[in-house]
């Protein structure tokens, strides 16, 4: 076997890796779960993260990392199955239920989560949060979006453009 030695001699059990958050909290997690991150996968394949070393993640705080790992641990078995083509309907329904509940969280946590998913290149998680954000904003009016984003009030010229748009695409505002 050409598998790299993890250095901790723990060959029988699942290989574990250590991740270190920006606030120096250490998280020990199965390599298979951490490998959902494309970024971490490369380091792990190189044999990193084992033993006392740990992989530092200076952009992710411990609250966010624990949330990210919760997602990875839940999704790792299905991902190991190559997107789980053999998964039963029950398994898929359970993952869907988990996902729905997982993103039912405060906006600031969603923000940290999508940034972390983006930095760590966890495609499924990024997509899940992006969908949630889209669902949260899809019903808003252009004015509500501007206010949410803290844009200044529209100038008379911009207001006229907004009104003209509303006249032209009235059905999209219903």
């Amino acid at each position: 076997m050409a598998a790299p030695e993890s250095g901790d001699g723990n060959n029988g059990a699942a290989r574990m890796v250590t991740l270190i958050s920006s606030d120096n909290t250490r998280f020990e997690v199965e390599a298979a779960a951490a490998s959902l991150s494309q970024t971490l996968q490369l380091t792990i394949l190189d044999g990193g993260g084992g033993g006392g070393d740990g992989i530092p993640l200076p952009n992710v705080d411990s609250a966010t990392l624990s949330k990210v790992l919760e997602y990875c641990i839940k999704h790792a078995p299905a991902a190991a199955n190559g997107g789980a083509p053999n998964a039963t309907a029950v398994d898929r329904a359970e993952l869907e239920r988990f996902d729905n509940e997982f993103v039912n969280i405060d906006q600031s946590v969603l923000y940290s989560l999508i940034m972390a998913a983006h930095n760590l290149e966890i495609e499924g998680l990024q997509s899940l949060v992006a969908k949630k954000v889209a669902d949260m904003i899809k019903g808003k009016s252009p004015m509500e979006i501007r206010r949410t984003l803290g844009f200044p009030d529209p100038t008379p010229e911009e207001q006229a453009e907004m009104n003209a748009h509303m006249l032209e695409y009235g059905w999209a505002y219903e």
Partner: protein, 210 residues
């Protein structure tokens, strides 16, 4: 909203705020068409992103990847018979699926291409006569420029992936001096008129598949 932040970028109190452009696009791609159209009015930079060729292509691919149940277009004359309404429906109550109404078009003389071509559908009004191209997702309709009316004409809509242009191809039989000579004209969407294509097709073909 009682508090209003005057700065354009600031603390991420909302997840839509201060997200990098790349992630904003990921969010936009998951919005329904109706929201995308509406959000083009948010500000000019959103309008630019949401109207860009690149974004529209990505969004279309995303929508197509999610297999939606097939829907049917159907036309119906309005009560006064002076206009035609176009519906997109799979539901039993047609009013839910109303896309738009074309004035001065008689519904019983309207024909359409059998399937949309990359989102667009060609519609033919035999009375005027006139061609229309519409986008069922955005409900945008344009009437094509007038053309020389002849008997025995047929038309189709195609998309040129290289130039990223939609083209309407008309085939018709030439005038008496030109008996049985099949002529071909191409109209590129966004341009002013048809261009004749000589020798683009052989004699004797009366249908074109696009």
């Amino acid at each position: 909203m009682t508090t209003r932040n005057k700065k354009r970028t600031g603390v991420p109190s909302c997840c839509a705020q201060a997200l990098p452009d790349e992630l904003m696009t990921e969010v936009f791609l998951r919005l329904p068409i109706k929201s995308i159209l509406r959000f083009r009015a948010v500000c000019r930079s959103w309008a630019a992103v949401l109207s860009s060729e690149e974004f529209c292509g990505l969004h279309m691919a995303k929508v197509e990847a999610v297999s939606a149940p097939p829907k049917l277009f159907f036309t119906s004359p309005t009560a006064g018979f002076d206009a035609t309404s176009l519906y997109l429906g799979s539901s039993s109550s047609p009013d839910d699926g109303l896309l738009f109404t074309l004035k001065d078009v008689r519904g019983d003389f309207v024909d359409m291409t059998p399937a949309p071509c990359r989102g667009l559908t060609l519609l033919y009004d035999a009375v005027a006569p006139a061609y229309y191209v519409f986008n069922a997702a955005t409900r945008a309709v344009i009437r094509l420029p007038p053309y020389q009316d002849v008997n025995f004409a047929t038309a189709g809509l195609g998309f040129d992936a290289q130039t990223k242009e939609y083209k309407v191809v008309r085939l018709f039989i030439g005038d008496c001096l030109d008996k049985q000579h099949i002529k071909c004209e191409i109209y590129t969407l966004g341009e002013h008129g048809y261009k004749a294509k000589d020798h683009a097709c052989g004699k004797g073909h009366s249908r074109i598949m696009l």
